[in-house]
């Protein structure tokens, strides 16, 4: 996924700092789907957890936006909050979510069912990745961030990011092996 969200302007950020609800809504609209999707797939398709995480991220963002100094990319700052929120919530959550309860309703047409199966399999494979690989893969997938940006978000070196992505992708390839023929 390579389409970047619309660049957040300094005017929007300045308006958010003054408590402008419309500006905050505009900021929210720019990132909401990416934040929600990362959280959704991070939490094994648990919509309630994804919604809760998204709310926490945007509330934190609004509370702390006065401290955003603008010398870092806004998206880097935001995604760091997403990662921290997801990891913190995971630590607090003891129960695991039954994946079958959380996936979207099955489609009706044959092609759609087949497509749904692929999506479900990919989602399940992502959900099975260890946290550190899962979050790296999701960040890379939903926003085309550089290794350096991801390193800043994940608080590790760019080399470690590269290693986690590579290992995460290889684990996914193993888990999705049955689709390999179709892909070729």
């Amino acid at each position: 996924m390579t389409n970047h969200p619309v660049q957040v302007t300094t005017e929007i950020l300045a308006a958010c700092r003054t408590g402008d609800r419309d500006a905050f809504r505009s900021l929210y609209d720019t990132y909401k789907d990416r934040v929600y999707s990362i959280a959704l797939y991070f939490f094994h398709g648990d919509r309630a957890a994804a919604g809760d995480a998204s709310q926490q991220v945007f509330l934190k963002l609004l509370t702390q936006i006065g401290q955003f100094r603008g010398d870092a990319e806004f998206s880097t700052w935001l995604y760091r909050m997403v990662v921290n929120t997801c990891v913190d919530m995971t630590r607090r959550r003891k129960r695991t979510t039954d994946l079958s309860d959380t996936l979207p309703a099955p489609a009706r047409q044959h092609e759609e069912i087949e497509q749904r199966q692929v999506v479900d399999a990919v989602q399940a494979a992502v959900a099975e990745l260890p946290e550190k690989f899962r979050i790296a893969v999701l960040l890379r997938h939903f926003d085309d961030l550089s290794y350096e940006e991801m390193a800043a978000i994940l608080n590790c070196s760019a080399g470690t990011v590269a290693s986690r992505l590579s290992r995460g992708h290889r684990m996914l390839a193993v888990r999705l092996k049955k689709f390999q023929e179709r892909w070729k």
Partner: protein, 280 residues
């Protein structure tokens, strides 16, 4: 080892994973929490007359002079607690019976010296902007919230509730994440950090007279935090068993070079920490 074909295949499969639209209920929840006052509202706009600006400016200058002067002095809280702002990056609540001093208050460095007592710091800023000196070392904020106690000799405790804190003393560093604590001692500086929920056996093994075997036996996967620090505090002969116990608790990738870790190669230790830290 890389496998470009497998990685390309995985990426093509990931392309099937759709971006999911956030339901409107998320925004409604945010609005409800905002309306419930989770964020301070901006002050209503009020236009002051010009003469008020002049008076306010004079008052501000005088206040700033007094404030600056007080910043350079000691703060003794006596019987009550006190909260001070740390520039624009956070606050420190100073417990009763505490004595400390503001050493530096610049955008690139905020530094307190804690002589004795207890402080609770809440900092939201990039790492290494906020420092607290004690007699047994310096607590360096890495973006966090923590409670630090110290006595005049430097004995004390650091409890981290959010983020990370580094405690350094004469080249020795203890990295303490949320949920963990470390004791500091006069002369020897920071001890070995451990999670608050670690077993009493593990705490005893690293807090008192160091008992490597007991620490290894009591460690859980999460306690690799303690073992990672232990690696750097034990003798050469004890280092290999510590590393092997870490590898048993948290299987390590091939990129971690055991020999380099045992030689305490800084880069190898850093890589090992990054691998383990995800479980801390």
């Amino acid at each position: 080892m890389t496998d470009p074909a497998a990685e390309r295949f995985a990426q093509s499969m990931l392309a099937e994973l759709p971006l999911v639209e956030a339901p409107e209920s998320v925004w409604r929840g945010i609005e409800a929490r905002l309306d419930a006052g989770e964020r301070p509202r901006p002050a209503p706009v009020f236009r002051w007359p010009r003469w008020a600006f002049a008076i306010a400016a004079i008052f501000a200058i005088v206040a700033a002079i007094f404030w600056r002067a007080s910043q350079r002095g000691w703060i003794d809280t006596g019987h009550s607690s006190q909260t001070i702002a740390i520039g624009q990056i956070g606050t420190v609540t100073i417990a009763p019976g505490t004595r400390l001093r503001v050493v530096a208050d610049r955008p690139e460095e905020h530094r307190l010296a804690l002589q004795h007592g207890e402080i609770h710091a809440r900092i939201t800023a990039p790492p290494r902007l906020f420092f607290v000196d004690t007699a047994s070392g310096t607590a360096i904020d890495l973006g966090c919230e923590y409670t630090l106690t110290a006595d005049d000799r430097g004995a004390g405790e650091l409890h981290v509730t959010r983020g990370w804190v580094a405690f350094v003393w004469q080249g020795r560093e203890s990295l303490t994440p949320a949920g963990a604590m470390v004791r500091t001692r006069p002369v020897s500086g920071p001890g070995i950090p451990y999670f608050e929920d670690a077993s009493s056996e593990l705490k005893r093994a690293v807090d008192g007279r160091l008992d490597v075997n007991a620490a290894l036996g009591a460690a859980r996967p999460r306690d690799t935090l303690t073992l990672w620090h232990l690696l750097q505090r034990v003798s050469d002969t004890d280092r290999a068993p510590v590393y092997d116990r870490i590898a048993t608790l948290a299987p390590l990738p091939a990129s971690i070079d055991r020999e380099k870790v045992l030689r305490l190669d800084p880069e190898a230790l850093k890589l090992l920490k990054e691998e383990l830290a995800w479980t801390w």
